[in-house]
């Protein structure tokens, strides 16, 4: 602290007192010399070191270079006085950078502070790592930081810093953090009661989840749950309200996090989230006069709109959002206009229909003339995104008009965007050529070479256009000052196609030559070289110009530029050959069409906006640009950067002669034959297959666990799992293909189970759908029970029961996976059949493969008899109707049932159970119209009855 160091205060006062810069420098040099001497003499006590280092820091902050004090700062860190340590750390974080050699010296001190019992020392160390931590530090200290984050004894303020420090380490050196291994533990902290901790952990999760979507999938439900608690239940500590808005930062972070995941399939989560977004949008309907309050509310609102767009562009929420945005873009507040335009660009980038945006086209075009350049930029982005075939002429026209008065810094980007729009949405070749030539004349300096290359490509490939292009370019070049790019285009086009217009009045060869040659003196060497090539082509097609042209070559043979000179010499030699020589003709053969290729323009624009650290969830541009980006992003995620596909290269061009008429196809080189829907499908499929291939965690094993499970396969209620902490019970009810399963989770210990999370792993999701009726609670109080209600629907035949994973924090983080007693027979309904009907069907189905049969050992009851009640219980528990009086042997059991499936329909199933007391064996026979069902049911009957060996 400055107070208590009089020398420092004096120093600062002196410097403030310095009237001119020279005096200030003099004072500083004097001080530095003094400090250097003091340091050299050594024998400084802690206070003196602290004082000098503080002076050095101050000098550094003023912008002077300092080269002393690093060593002293390192020493101060290891001091055990907090005041000295603090200055030491401040110096380290300000004076050093992550590759500084001095940092090696502090690793051990930092580790010592991390292990210290004193939390504020932990904090200093964490803060230092978070600011300057390099690879070495990350490798050495990641474990320690993680420990501080998850330790149950860590204070909130330590946890917060630890979370952000881990994040920093991950950003710098992702390989140091075992992100997947730590996933569940880290996500569980999102349930921390302290919102400050939640903010920091959410930042961490957001970064990790982007690269490990699956491992962190649980965070989706956590985020939704937290949002619901904040926004709808208003469950937060009052100090986290910022101008009456519950922690806007956290809300914004959570809303942003959700945008990194594909929309959830779970209807419960979806409806909760919908509710949250609805409330946020309603909140904004009541504007207040307080600036800060308004700010905070809008921050959330804009993020919520972003999420709504991400979830479903056709939802009514987005409709509401579009109305709000329309209001925002004509708001009086500049900030709101700016963000309104930005968010509208997001909408345009995703929406199927641009209609709601086009309604405000006029306002948006007006925004191009806003008094604030920031707003103008956003308007430009939005116009670019909302352009399509219908409004392209209007928008491009507006942009062209604006280009002439636009800010210098904006022009290059504008030119690129105009060129792309013109190319992508051109309705006619003529318009394309006109616009691009206008563009080159209007802003030549900002037109990159790609733009005029592209014109040449397109004109060469489009025969109908050549004559028109030649005329137009000729007209453009008549203006007294043409830009060099225009001369290049003109030189090329007239050279190739000048002969097409040579017979029209005003375009004679001589006039063409005079026009072009007059410009050449204002051009650089590359352009002149190009013009020489034009002339040699003319020697071929316009023999009447030959004398003048040879004259030009003759003169250029003596210029200093070697490239020009060589060309001139070669061309001169070719041109001077005798008339009947064929060389000239062969050399000047007309250019063949270019192979179709991707527009270099798009490549350039995409290069300008690639992945950032926190990746953007959308890019400026139309819908397909975004879809393409998503697809390539998924690929990159999948291959983890092994073969990083650039956004540009995914737009594979396909030579397609049939579609050559369609200008958009040949021009943009983009493959438009895939409709947006199709393009979307692979991405989504990929996502869903990803989700289903999440490895199901290993289920808990043990004789009890199996016994509980087996018992529940033929009974509706019972215990599913129990240990010293936890009891899980099940109650169920089925009707046809639908079912309801209530799971009771009891906390048997004296402390609450926090961050309670349940996830379902259904290995055959298309056959069986299991959803929570509402979001499960996140905490179970000591010695209480909570109920989770599941809705179940059987669509198709399935074999593997779903697995429920329960994880919670009770001291440490624990995870438990159990199979749910959901087997195919749960969807049976018994049928009453008379003997004749039964045998008729039995025979109809016939033997294998539609019959499954097995013989297995059974245990007799205490009296040595067959345990008839149990047999009957199992068969009826498996939801067969027991048909008495069909089998003459009373110990045999005969049953019938029908399996109900929503998609595959009904399947009948008959069974016969024949126990033999003497042999202690039992034979089970199942006949069903489906082989799969027969074999599966046979296993299910046998399992609970067979002797456990």
């Amino acid at each position: 602290m400055a107070t208590g160091m009089r020398g420092l205060t004096q120093f600062i006062a002196d410097i403030r007192g310095a009237r001119v810069r020279e005096l200030e420098e003099k004072r500083i040099n004097k001080e530095m010399a003094n400090i250097r001497k003091r340091f050299k003499d050594g024998n400084l006590d802690g206070y003196q070191k602290k004082k000098y280092v503080a002076k050095i820091i101050f000098t550094y902050i003023l912008g002077y270079k300092v080269d002393v004090g690093h060593m002293e700062a390192v020493n101060l860190i290891s001091s055990n006085k907090y005041s000295e340590k603090q200055i030491g750390y401040l110096a380290v974080t300000l004076l050093m950078h992550e590759n500084s050699d001095f940092l090696r010296l502090v690793v051990n001190s930092i580790r010592k502070d991390l292990d210290d019992n004193n939390e504020i020392h932990n904090c200093l160390a964490l803060h230092a790592i978070a600011n300057v931590g390099g690879k070495e530090m990350a490798e050495a200290l990641a474990e320690d930081v993680h420990r501080l984050l998850i330790s149950p004894t860590s204070q909130s303020f330590v946890k917060k810093k630890a979370a952000l420090t881990l994040l920093r380490m991950y950003r710098k050196h992702p390989d140091v953090i075992p992100a997947e291994e730590w996933a569940l533990r880290i996500v569980s902290i999102m349930d921390d009661p302290d919102l400050g901790v939640v903010i920091c952990v959410t930042s961490l999760v957001m970064a990790l989840a982007q690269d490990h979507l699956d491992a962190y999938a649980v965070c989706y439900q956590k985020a939704v749950d937290r949002l619901h608690r904040l926004v709808v239940d208003h469950e937060y500590s009052a100090t986290y309200a910022y101008y009456k808005v519950p922690s806007p930062w956290l809300q914004v972070k959570l809303l942003r996090l959700l945008q990194y995941y594909p929309p959830s399939d779970d209807p419960t989560i979806r409806s909760v989230l919908h509710n949250v977004l609805q409330v946020i949008m309603n909140n904004s309907a009541e504007p207040t006069r307080n600036v800060q309050h308004n700010n905070a509310q809008h921050a959330i609102l804009f993020e919520a709109i972003g999420l709504a767009i991400h979830l479903d562009t056709n939802s009514p929420l987005v409709g509401t959002a579009a109305v709000l945005l329309a209001r925002f873009i004509s708001s009086k507040e500049t900030n709101v206009r700016y963000l309104g335009l930005d968010t509208m660009a997001h909408l345009a980038a995703r929406a199927d229909s641009l209609e709601p945006i086009k309604k405000h086209q006029g306002t948006i075009i007006l925004s191009l003339r806003d008094k604030d350049i920031s707003v103008r930029r956003r308007a430009l982005d939005l116009l670019y995104s909302m352009c399509d075939v219908d409004n392209s002429e209007l928008i491009v026209g507006e942009l062209l008009r604006y280009l002439r008065v636009a800010d210098y810094g904006l022009r290059e980007e504008m030119v690129l965007k105009i060129a792309i729009l013109t190319e992508k949405y051109a309705n006619s070749y003529k318009w394309y050529v006109d616009t691009i030539l206008d563009l080159i004349s209007a802003a030549g300096d900002h037109v990159g070479d790609e733009v005029w290359y592209r014109v040449v490509q397109i004109v060469t490939n489009t025969e109908d256009l050549q004559e028109y292009a030649a005329k137009v370019v000729f007209e453009h070049m008549k203006s007294p000052s043409s830009h060099e790019s225009l001369v290049k285009v003109g030189g090329y086009i007239l050279g190739e196609y000048g002969h097409l217009i040579a017979n029209s009045p005003g375009y004679s060869p001589l006039e063409q030559f005079q026009l072009l040659h007059a410009k050449s003196q204002f051009c650089g060497a590359p352009t002149r070289a190009l013009l020489l090539s034009t002339y040699i082509k003319w020697v071929n097609v316009f023999p009447e110009l030959k004398p003048q042209l040879i004259n030009v070559f003759e003169r250029y043979r003596h210029v200093l530029d070697s490239e020009l000179q060589q060309r001139a010499c070669e061309f001169y030699a070719i041109a001077s050959r005798p008339e009947e020589d064929e060389l000239l003709q062969n050399v000047c053969e007309e250019m063949p069409p270019f192979p179709p290729r991707q527009s270099a323009l798009l490549g350039r624009l995409n290069r300008k906006q690639g992945d950032t650290e926190d990746k953007r969830t959308w890019v400026i541009g139309g819908k397909e640009a975004n879809l393409e980006r998503q697809a390539s992003k998924r690929l990159t995620v999948m291959t983890t950067g092994a073969a990083r596909l650039s956004n540009g290269s995914t737009g594979v061009s396909q030579p397609d002669s049939a579609s050559a008429q369609d200008i958009t196809k040949t021009l943009a080189g983009l493959d438009f034959t895939t409709s947006p829907d199709q393009a979307e499908a692979p991405g989504l499929q990929h996502a869903s297959s990803n989700l289903s291939t999440i490895k199901v965690p290993p289920v808990v094993a043990g004789p009890n666990v199996d016994r509980w499970f087996d018992k529940l396969t033929y009974s509706a209620d019972g215990v599913l799992y129990e240990d010293i902490q936890l009891q899980i019970g099940v109650k169920s009810r089925y009707h046809g293909h639908l079912g309801q399963l209530a799971i009771y989770v009891g906390n048997k210990i004296g402390v609450p189970l926090t961050s309670f999370t349940t996830t379902m792993h259904v290995s055959e999701p298309e056959a069986l759908s299991v959803t929570f009726a509402k979001m499960p609670p996140t905490m179970i109080a000591p010695r209480t029970q909570t109920q989770l209600l599941l809705h179940i629907e059987c669509n198709k035949f399935f074999r593997t029961p779903p697995v429920m994973t329960v994880s919670f924090l009770a001291g440490s983080h624990q995870t438990l996976s159990v199979r749910l007693p959901l087997v195919i027979t749960k969807f049976f309904e018994g049928v009453k059949l008379g003997p004749t009907e039964f045998f008729e069907r039995w025979k109809l189905i016939g033997g294998p493969p539609r019959e499954a049969q097995s013989i297995f050992p059974i245990t007799l009851n205490a009296a040595g008899h067959i345990d008839m009640p149990k047999h009957r219980q199992v068969v009826s528990g498996l939801r067969f109707d027991i048909l008495d009086g069909i089998d003459p042997n009373p110990t045999n059991i005969v049953g019938a049932g029908v399996l109900h499936m929503a998609v595959e329909g009904k399947v009948g199933c008959l069974m016969r159970l024949e126990p033999n007391r003497e042999a202690k064996l039992c034979r089970v026979t199942i006949r069903s119209t489906s082989e799969d069902v027969a074999s599966e049911v046979q296993k299910l009957v046998q399992k609970p009855l067979t002797t456990e060996s």
Binding site: M1, A2, T9, A13, G46, I57, I61, G63, K81, S83, E84, Q86, I87, L90, I120, L126, H127, N131, F157, L164, T165, L167, R168, R171, L195, G196, I199, C200, S203, T239, Y240, Y242, S247, P248, W249, V252, R256, V291, Q292, N295, A296, H298, A299, F302, E303, E333, T334, N335, L339, K371, I373, S374, G409, R607, Q609, G610, T612, E613, D614, K615
Partner: protein
């Protein structure tokens, strides 16, 4: 993430510069550049500014595609400027500036420009409680205040232990000696520019 936090006064003199990403040129030029961007903007424009021209300072090569934005807010004689990338919510950053200013205000009891000069170390400590490594650490004023007080307490204790004879002295906050006090206006109430009430 937040790449830099800067405070400078209306004449362009930096009062706080903190970079969370390595910068490639001298920080003074960067500050001057940002100042020239901002000082030309009259009140009433928005608080956000696209700043492609600043990219060269923040390692264009490492993340060439960053869409850097300047978010700033002016209070009395001071500009508070945050340099952020696209992953931050602009309005969120505006709120954060307000939180930072309010926490300075609490720590210094009506903060003024001179506090930032004479207590530069303390300003850095306060900033460290709000932002760490370019990320938002805490936004709750009470929490921030508590951490700062705690650190001050620790400093006081360690000071007292080494100077058993001193009476208080080191550690405390807001001890402006009377001679240095030239009130430049209390900051938090003096929001100027957009949204000024």
């Amino acid at each position: 993430m937040i790449h830099a936090v800067l405070i400078f006064n209306t004449s362009g003199v930096p009062r706080l510069t903190k970079f969370y990403s390595p910068i490639h040129h001298s920080s003074q030029t960067l500050v001057q550049r940002i100042f020239s961007l901002i000082c030309t903007r009259p009140a009433g424009l928005c608080n956000f500014l696209d700043a492609p021209e600043l990219e060269e300072f923040l390692g264009k090569k490492s993340h060439e595609d960053e869409r850097l934005r300047v978010v700033y807010r002016s209070y009395a004689t001071l500009h508070f400027v945050f340099l952020v990338d696209a992953s931050e919510s602009e309005l969120g950053i505006l709120d954060l500036i307000q939180v930072f200013v309010e926490s300075l205000d609490r720590a210094f009891e009506n903060v003024c420009e001179l506090d930032l000069v004479f207590h530069f170390d303390e300003v850095h400590h306060i900033l460290a409680e709000v932002i760490q490594g370019g990320l938002v650490l805490e936004t709750n004023l009470d929490e921030i205040d508590r951490s700062i007080k705690q650190a001050a307490q620790a400093r006081k204790t360690s000071f007292a232990s080494s100077n058993p004879l001193s009476l208080g002295g080191g550690g405390g906050l807001g001890q402006r000696s009377a001679g240095l006090q030239t009130p430049l206006g209390w900051l938090t109430g003096k929001l100027s520019g957009v949204g000024a009430i």
